[in-house]
């Protein structure tokens, strides 16, 4: 074999033109089949499991049940003597920095689930002076601009932005508290954008379309600003000195957004402003990462759309193979506005971390037992009662918003 490998001369022959043409036709056919979009009677894209045989094997597994079982196992209380050893082994295996966690005593975490949802010490994450900061510890999978409202998941594979975020259908405004003006969100006309290395999804798929969901108002008291986000106060913005204490947080967000509170009740229309574009960024949180997420900017969350879906792994390996991954999985689309117009943030669950918590939305329940509704449908809540000043839930940059829990 060695001799044959090293001593056999290589002879090159020209491929007949007909064979070359057939190969090109086959490549084009595969590309076309990959980009084919199936739509329902209303023109909405039908989300289907697409990918190689491995993803269909994955799709046949009871992932949601497995996720809940995983969560239950990891909620079991561990013996106190075992905790330091167990968590140190976990930290070494997944690269956790134990010097920055709060509390630092490993015995105080009763279970792996509690350790997974750990807090960080004050000052562990300095906040950069920029309009957009990272909402989480993780790895940037992909980022860019959204073209024709398709999101690129990996190179050459896209999904619809509408499917990701959902769309407002003309004539079907979401229910809102009667005493409040109806919030509006910018609705993009075409609906797809990018994911990782070429796979796209639609805006509708990411945030949901209003015609397929139901809305309920949520009126939780806005939480106090968290340590990460306490940057704006009267010493920074002197005008805040005249603002009543109860409205300081809202006014701070308004100041950070560069707007007067009274002028922030409406977002832009159904398209982006002239001179603006839609951008996206995808951040992957590995198992060892800090799993709480924070506000990436000063913004107002007007509504959330909860899509009950599958719970596939969202690792880069799967993201490169499973099309529509981010619009198949269970996710919570938080929609609102920032100083430049529309702003949306979508935490997407996975098999090991199927539970998504949002601090200011106690009604939200994710990864619950029961038959999930059809893919693409969602339930919606509006936060207009959270702040009468800003008509939504105001958040400072880097303010803690919630997190992902095991199972």
């Amino acid at each position: 074999l060695l001799n044959a490998w090293t001593e056999t001369p290589v002879k090159w022959y020209p491929i007949p033109i007909a064979v070359g043409a057939l190969v090109l036709v086959a490549i084009q056919y595969r590309k076309k089949a990959r980009k084919e979009v199936h739509v329902d009677a209303d023109g909405n894209e039908i989300i289907r499991l697409k990918g190689p045989w491995q993803v269909h094997v994955l799709g046949a597994l009871p992932l949601r049940n497995m996720s809940r079982l995983w969560g239950y196992v990891n909620s079991l209380e561990l013996p106190v003597w075992f905790r330091p050893y167990g968590f140190r082994i976990y930290a070494a295996a997944f690269g956790c920095n134990l010097d920055e966690i709060e509390p630092a005593d490993l015995k105080s975490y009763p279970s792996l689930g509690a350790f997974f949802y750990r807090r960080l010490k004050d000052g562990a994450r300095p906040v950069a002076d920029a309009v957009l900061v990272s909402p989480a510890d993780g790895k940037i999978l992909h980022f860019g601009t959204i073209k024709d409202l398709r999101v690129e998941q990996v190179k050459g594979i896209t999904y619809s932005l509408d499917a990701l975020l959902g769309v407002e259908r003309p004539g079907t405004p979401p229910p809102v508290p009667a005493h409040m003006p109806a919030p509006s969100i910018p609705v993009v006309d075409d609906h797809e954008f990018a994911n990782v290395n070429g796979i796209e999804y639609t805006l509708d798929q990411l945030i949901g379309a209003s015609s397929s969901g139901t809305s309920t108002p949520v009126s939780d008291t806005p939480p106090a600003p968290k340590k990460f986000g306490e940057r704006i106060d009267a010493s920074v913005v002197p005008e805040l000195a005249d603002v009543p204490e109860a409205l300081r947080h809202d006014a701070s967000v308004a100041a950070e957004m560069g707007v007067r509170p009274a002028l922030t009740r409406s977002t832009s229309g159904t398209t982006v402003k002239p001179g603006h574009s839609l951008f996206f960024s995808v951040i992957y949180l590995a198992p060892g990462d800090y799993h709480r997420f924070h506000s990436p900017t000063a913004w107002v969350v007007e509504k959330r759309r909860h899509f009950v879906g599958e719970l596939f792994s969202v690792s880069p390996y799967i993201a490169k193979r499973l099309e529509n991954l981010f619009v198949l999985n269970e996710r919570v689309a938080l929609l609102g506005r920032w100083k430049y117009g529309f702003f949306g943030m979508v935490p997407v669950g996975a098999t090991n971390v199927g539970s998504i918590k949002v601090n200011f939305d106690q009604a939200l329940r994710t990864n619950v037992r029961g038959r999930p509704p059809p893919l693409g449908t969602y339930t919606e809540a509006v936060y207009s009662a959270a702040s009468t000043l800003l008509n939504g839930q105001p958040l400072m940059a880097a303010q803690e918003m919630g997190g992902f829990c095991l199972g």
Binding site: R125, S134, F279, F343
Partner: protein, 32 residues
């Protein structure tokens, strides 16, 4: 788990990160 951000921004918005880069909470993602 994954977080997807979708936002409107002026055309001169620039990302300050690269694909595959590790980021931490509060780190600059982009600016106008």
């Amino acid at each position: 788990s994954t977080i997807v951000l979708v936002f409107e921004a002026p055309n001169d918005f620039e990302f300050a990160v690269e694909a595959g880069q590790k980021v931490r909470v509060g780190q600059k993602l982009g600016d106008v």
